[in-house]
Symmetry: C2
């Protein structure tokens, strides 16, 4: 980390001119069975009027993750949810104002009444379906967002991450639908039932939900298992990367 020839306590500010460090948070949620992401509309130069990933400068007295959580809470009012560092973007020209290094995070939130303040359509903050993003995102945010979606997909294959997007109680087919939304491909119903049950991640409840056809049983995620160990199972029905 530290330059070996540098003196201990003094800095030559002109020599060690410092970049700005920001934290950007790509916030995902599921709205009406579709994966959405939160964007904010910029009010000033540069990229005035363009949509951007929410973020801000870090404070000197908070860790990166704390900064990301603060940002998340400022935008959505949500605390204590799943958050994970994605990547740090630091190319020279990515912000026309000055050198900016952005530590990007991914957050997953459950969409419910809590974040009404976001769903206000007249506001400069809005949820967009991942399949229908606005054009010309600010800065390199298109790249960041694409990377976030890609990471979300690949993590889904070996973690229990999808549960973060669902409410407390859900049906197995809703869970399957969530996987399909994120993976962007269809999964076999029978195989999904079998795998998810064998995994032992779910706790059956006595509750049912009625709809158009046969009522469905509701399940709950076993949280004890989650923290337990890095639980892993694979969902993809084709062997990844089969280069024939």
């Amino acid at each position: 980390m530290e330059e070996r020839e540098e003196t201990a306590t003094t800095y030559d500010a002109s020599r060690y001119d410092r970049p700005s460090v920001t934290v950007d948070v790509v916030i995902f949620t599921l709205i009406e069975r579709e994966l959405h992401v939160l964007l904010v509309q910029r009010k000033r130069w540069p990229y005035e009027g363009h949509w951007a990933i929410p973020g801000g400068f870090i404070n000197m007295d908070e860790s990166l993750e704390q900064a990301a959580r603060r940002e998340l809470e400022e935008e959505t009012g949500v605390r204590d949810l799943y958050i994970e560092q994605l990547f740090t973007f630091g190319d020279v020209g990515r912000d026309p104002r000055t050198r900016v290094i952005s530590v990007a995070y991914i957050a997953l939130v459950r969409f419910d009444a809590q974040h009404l303040r976001v769903s206000d359509e007249s506001h400069d903050v809005r949820w967009f379906p991942v399949s229908a993003l606005p054009r010309d995102l600010a800065f390199d945010h298109e790249q960041i967002l694409a990377f976030a979606v890609s990471r979300l997909r690949s993590k889904l294959e070996y973690t229990t991450l999808a549960f973060q997007l669902l409410p407390e109680l859900f049906s197995i087919l809703e869970l399957k639908h969530t996987y399909e939304q994120i993976l962007g491909e269809e999964l076999d119903k029978g195989n999904f039932y079998r795998k998810i049950k064998e995994a032992g991640l779910l706790e059956e409840t006595t509750q049912m939900r009625e709809g158009r056809g046969r009522p469905t049983r509701l399940w709950r995620f076993k949280h004890d298992r989650a923290g337990d160990k890095q639980f892993v199972f694979r969902w993809r029905e084709d062997r990844a990367g089969n280069t024939k």
Copy 2:
């Protein structure tokens, strides 16, 4: 990324007091069939005399990856090798001097005569076996290193990364040994032969190498396939995370 309420071109330096940004590079190599990592011994406060991961401040005119490559070249004289961003560490108290945010990278180099300057034992730069690291690394470098090893392991399971550590020509059992070194577990010889051949990643050469027993055929990695697409295959012989 950008604070939405901030003005466009001016900064209040006292308000937006900036952290320092460094790049640390965890450099791995294989020496005598064992995985090693490069560390430097600190000459000054803080952590004087302790070993640390090599790194330094970024320049304002280089990208993060450029900074990491520069650092790698300064320490080992090696260019154009495998390098990958690991994680960004930014806890508040990790450096007693000032707020420091470190973007950590992993690099893999082939150990050969090129980096003699590193193998000089009297120097303050030295290769350590991953299995026998020095005590009391500087800063939070123990944590960074542990994370780097863990990442290396998990990436090995689905990438062709091990080839970066081997010379141009190698035997299949050497490759197997490399996998075993990094994974920290034994692999079945027969299964390894079969899988690596089926994968079609290797190019047979006419060269053999003689040793104590039967001579071994040497192979070369097909580089055309590597860039091709994110080639994936799995090595672990147990299903990962099988929590029975």
